[in-house]
């Protein structure tokens, strides 16, 4: 199994035989054997041709593209070879039935809140925020509609981001969470991190038969691959936020790593590189899986989450969201 490649430089990517060449503006070339690739993330301005795309498609490799500000723009995904009509039908069935939809949607919220609280527990003076999230989790289990559920989740998330001001040092703070466009460095960092979780989850979904457009917590029309948004909820606080805390509090990322443009704040190339280095390291970190009795990476945990959802949908085993136990 290959690994993700993050390309920052402007230049060109091409195929020559079974090797992918990345060439930057100065003509420096780097060769990557195709087996070594799982996903290519493009941040720079890159030229590529159909010969490369055909090759990547044939080899079942994904390309994610990000815009100038580092936000997810879209993906090239090989022709879907992993389809299961049966599973798609069951995904829809669970969407259409309000009770079944709620069960899954609530599970995602539960997993997300569990990891939010778990993060806060590591830091002093966050008790009040933990309590707020707990209250919202209790409220969420009483709600009946996805709308109300979303409301609880939103309030819990507000409390969680408020706690960032207590957690983050070195002059980083967040007044309120602003997504589009992010107005300050913390918001920019969170947005970039969330983009990365989103595309990483999407890559994992792609390797299963799940249809990424049918979702439960988010409305399927919200974004093209809304199931990715759903599953990302659990993994944002588990994978992305600890990376943010580490980078900021160890003074690894600084205010110079952000640029501002009219009214958008975004991470520049050095900032992105620092983030992705830690992010990638986190994704490849392994933990001993209690049930599998094997070491699995954080990235594999995302794949396993997809499997659990499939098992739920086909009536095999009830879904419970992943909750880090260590």
């Amino acid at each position: 199994m290959g690994r993700p490649y993050y390309i920052f430089s402007n230049g060109r990517i091409k195929r020559k035989e079974n090797t992918v060449y990345i060439e930057n503006e100065n003509g420096d070339k780097k060769a990557i054997p195709v087996e070594d690739i799982d996903t290519i993330h493009l941040y720079g301005e890159v030229d590529l041709n159909t010969k490369l795309l055909n090759f990547l498609s044939q080899q079942n490799k994904i390309v994610h593209v990000y815009n100038y500000y580092g936000f997810y723009a879209g993906s090239f995904m090989p022709r879907d070879r992993n389809v299961s009509g049966e599973l798609t039908v069951r995904q829809v069935e669970h969407y259409l039935d309000p009770e079944r939809r709620f069960f899954i949607a609530f599970s995602f919220v539960e997993g997300a809140m569990f990891h939010m609280i778990r993060n806060l527990r590591e830091y002093k003076d966050t008790l009040e925020f933990q309590e707020k999230i707990k209250t919202e989790l209790a409220n969420a289990s009483e709600t009946k509609s996805i709308n109300e559920l979303m409301g609880c989740e939103g309030r819990a998330r507000d409390a969680y981001y408020q706690a960032f001001n207590t957690i983050l040092n070195n002059g980083f703070s967040i007044e309120k969470r602003e997504k589009r466009p992010p107005g300050n460095p913390v918001n920019a960092l969170i947005s970039f991190a969330n983009s990365m979780i989103y595309s990483t989850v999407l890559s994992e979904i792609y390797h299963t038969q799940l249809n990424p457009t049918i979702s439960y917590l988010h409305e399927p029309r919200e974004r093209r691959y809304s199931l990715s948004l759903d599953i990302a909820e659990i993994f944002k606080p588990l994978i992305a936020d600890p990376v943010i805390f580490k980078l900021v509090n160890n003074n690894m990322i600084r205010l110079e790593d952000f640029d501002e443009d009219v009214n958008c704040c975004y991470m520049n190339e050095t900032g992105r590189k620092k983030f992705l280095k830690e992010f990638d390291q986190k994704l490849t970190t392994t933990i001993k899986h209690r049930k599998l009795k094997r070491n699995v990476s954080y990235r594999t945990l995302i794949r396993l989450e997809c499997y659990k959802l499939i098992k739920h949908l086909i009536g095999d085993e009830l879904y419970t969201p992943f909750k880090a136990w260590w």
């Binding site: 992993n82 299961s84 599973l87 049930k291 599998l292 499997y307 659990k308 086909i314 095999d316």
Partner: protein, 172 residues
Amino acid sequence: MNANIDIDFNNLKTTGIKVNYLYVCERKLWLFDRGIQMESRSDKVLMGKLLGDNSYLREDKKEILIDNLINIDIVGDDEIREVKYSNRLAHADRIQILYYLYYLKQLGIEKRGVINYPKMRKREEIALTSEAEREVEIALMRVKEILMLNKPPQLQRKPYCTKCAYYEFCWG
């Protein structure tokens, strides 16, 4: 012998791999049938392919595909042959080739079967006796039954689960 019990072969016929999976794991059979398949990035699959491709270069290798269901590795004048990487699932491999022999017999072709284990320099002869025919029929009916289930058969630990492509799916 009850070889004369009528079965509706047309309604029961299936692929060789599914008959094989019946003996490997009923759950795997169900999942595979519903298109819930695991990516084949395991070296073992690759090894199987390489073996299949290279081991018998000297023979006139004739692969045949019947009805889009039956894909026989090597068809000779009076025998059909399958090439297998290991005999870990010999029982399952045996029923698969018996099924091919059975299938051919329905088409009026009678042959013997051979399984080659090139890595172990071993070959096994397989004949379609009337007991074996009955065994195939029972297997076909069982496949049908399992595939009609609304959900996958329950999880049951097998000695080879950890080597199965579905391991993380089933046990994670």
